[in-house]
Amino acid sequence: MAQVRENKGARKAIVAVVLIIFTIIYMIPLFYIVNTSFRPWADIREYPPKLIYQPSVAAFIRIFTARAVYPPGQAPTEQELKDMSTIERIVYKETNERIVRTGDLPRRYLNSLIICVLSTMITILLGTTAAYGFSRFPVKGKDDWMFFILSTRMLPPVIVGIPVFLMFRNVGLNDSHLGLILLYVAFNVSFAVWVLKGFIDEIPREYEDAALVDGYSRFQAFRKIVLPQSVTGIAATAVFVFIFAWNEYAFAFMLTRNTAQTVPAWLPYQMGVLGFDWGAAAAGTTLFLIPPMVLTILLRNHLVRGISFGAVRK
């Protein structure tokens, strides 16, 4: 008996060790980015990297601002230095720069949020209703339709990028929020339909039959009975769709320049007067990771059940 328990404990320990090792491996890039974002300008290029350094928020300030270098011989006077705000002083001390105006990050960030939230909402709305239809009604050529929907995902974005670019230019959708939203919806709806159909298939039809007989219309039965039961699936799908859209680079790179440019398309262009600003790029990336993380944490209960794609449901 004691032997068995000991074995069990040993197995648990091994599993834990393996998991910890994997977690560490997966966390290295993340750690590296976050670590870089807090390094002072001078430390970033040093090789081998210093293990111990004085953390600095200058990179975060730089990603939020546009700056100009003080020309030689025009360094601020003692008095001017005293009058500077803390933020200005940090920037000046690290890179000898003067803050000119707020940078592009807030606008890019807002673009990303608008495009991703809206496209996720539209995708889920279309995906849920389409999945319900495919799951419940005898659609003619159902299998062909489902395959067609899936096939829209088969080409990598880079390949369809140029035709889409030309089409968008003709209808004036280039560099517009609407353009990217439409594109992300088109690309993600196939995923949503397939995953959600799986979830809805799992919900026995008898529930709706019962609701229909109990005096409800098809739509009311869907809203009152099917929807509450598929919340888990919808939440999991929504997180995936949001993350796909949030991380999307190729289309954003090809189709946006300014007005509707999203964070991934903009982040790599952190070229300053002093050379490429790795610190600012890392700081931007760190900030960029926050929304999907928050979303995942908020919906984690649904996700754990949802990712198993209905396998746990009774």
Binding site: E206, D209, A210, L212, V213, D214, G215, S217, P228
Partner: protein, 363 residues
């Protein structure tokens, strides 16, 4: 409360004809049981009556009104499903309230509360009202399912094998409870089952359905004592009726190997002579066959007991007459043993006769 009429309803699924010109009238306040084997079209019939399934042709009348084109919600029938179908996102009380809260009924909350309390009391589920449905036992679930049906006053109750997922003991309990409930409510029950015991014990009338064809409608007694076809004869009764092929041998009927030669009554002979056929099927219920140690003069043939099932109140014997095997139920006091040679006596007055080709009853 209403009567229910099904007029020449047909339904096909792909190549399969589920219902072939079904006609049926269920009276107001009647407990009607549609009995048939799996795949007979019973559930399809219920779903068509409720409007959940579209029929290919035919008409459905509820309360003398043609509801053929109505959606399920407006037909105002209640459906109890084989699988309990309690809405998992609602608790027991919310499940019971659900039909009353539908937009077409829109019952005020105080009436809902009253009605739910009433139903809970009738079904003895008051203590379950605030429970989550997933934590209920099968019996409790089906009670709530029935509660959701009776909480409103529908035109008719449709029940699709509601007891088939319960264990034997509970099933027996629920049978008598459903009978009591139906008497108490005085409403039209249309009940579908493959279980003849349920049909025999609860029904006012039974309809036997096979392969989409309604073979016979009648009271449980009629179905049992005057089956109109070999299918009904075989399907109703446990153990099933013995059916033997017999042919004329002068004035009596003999089995193919002449192990048995039945001396039929004059009336039976006269009836069969009119048929002008060389062969018939004779049907004997197991309880109409008895075993004796001594040979009797007529209809008693030498047999060997080769299998015996003791059921407590009775024994089921498999008797071998030459090549033929016949089942008989006898009182356990008889003290029979396997291998024993006895005389099997056929009570010919209770014999049923069927046409060899059409398999229909002859009388």
């Amino acid at each position: 409360m209403a009567n229910l009429k099904i007029v020449s309803v047909t339904k096909t699924f792909g190549d399969i004809e589920a219902l072939k010109d079904l006609n049926l009238e269920i009276h107001d306040g009647e407990f009607f049981v549609l009995l048939g084997p799996t795949g007979a079209g019973k559930t399809t019939t219920l779903r068509i009556v409720s409007g959940l399934e579209k029929m290919d042709s035919g008409q459905i009348f509820l309360d003398d009104e043609d509801v053929s084109d109505w959606v399920p919600a407006t037909r105002d029938v209640a459906f109890v499903f084989q699988f309990y179908t309690l809405y998992p996102n609602l608790n027991v009380r919310q499940n019971l309230e659900f039909p009353l809260k539908s937009p077409i009924r829109n019952t005020p909350q105080d009436q809902i509360d009253k009605k739910v309390a009433e139903v809970a009391k009738t079904l003895h589920i008051e203590h379950l009202l605030e429970r989550e449905t997933v934590n209920l036992s099968g019996g409790e679930m089906q009670r709530v399912g029935i509660g959701r049906a009776i909480v409103r006053t529908p035109k008719a109750f449709l029940m699709d094998e509601p007891l088939s997922n319960l264990d034997a003991k509970l099933r027996e309990e629920m049978r008598s409870e459903l009978s009591r409930l139906q008497k108490q409510l005085g409403q039209t029950f249309f009940y579908v089952t493959h279980d003849q015991t349920e049909a025999m014990t609860m029904a006012d009338r039974i309809g036997v359905l096979n392969e989409g064809v309604l073979l016979q409608i009648g009271s449980p007694d009629e179905i049992y004592h005057r089956p109109t076809s070999t299918f009904v004869a075989r399907f109703v009764g446990s153990p099933r009726m013995n059916l033997l092929k017999v042919h004329w041998k002068n004035d009596v009927l003999a089995s193919p190997g002449e192990e048995m030669v039945f001396e039929i009554t004059d009336a039976q002979r006269e009836m069969l002579r009119k048929y002008d056929k060389p062969e018939f099927i004779i049907g004997m219920r197991p309880e109409d066959i008895s075993v004796h140690d001594e040979r009797r003069e007529h209809n008693c043939f030498e047999a060997e007991i080769y299998f015996k099932q003791s059921m407590g109140a009775e024994d089921i014997l498999n008797l071998r007459f030459g090549k033929l095997v016949v089942q008989a139920t006898v009182p356990p006091t008889h003290g029979t043993t396997v291998g024993q040679k006895i005389c099997g006596y056929f009570d010919i007055d209770h014999a049923h006769f069927f046409d060899v080709d059409t398999e229909l009853r002859i009388e």
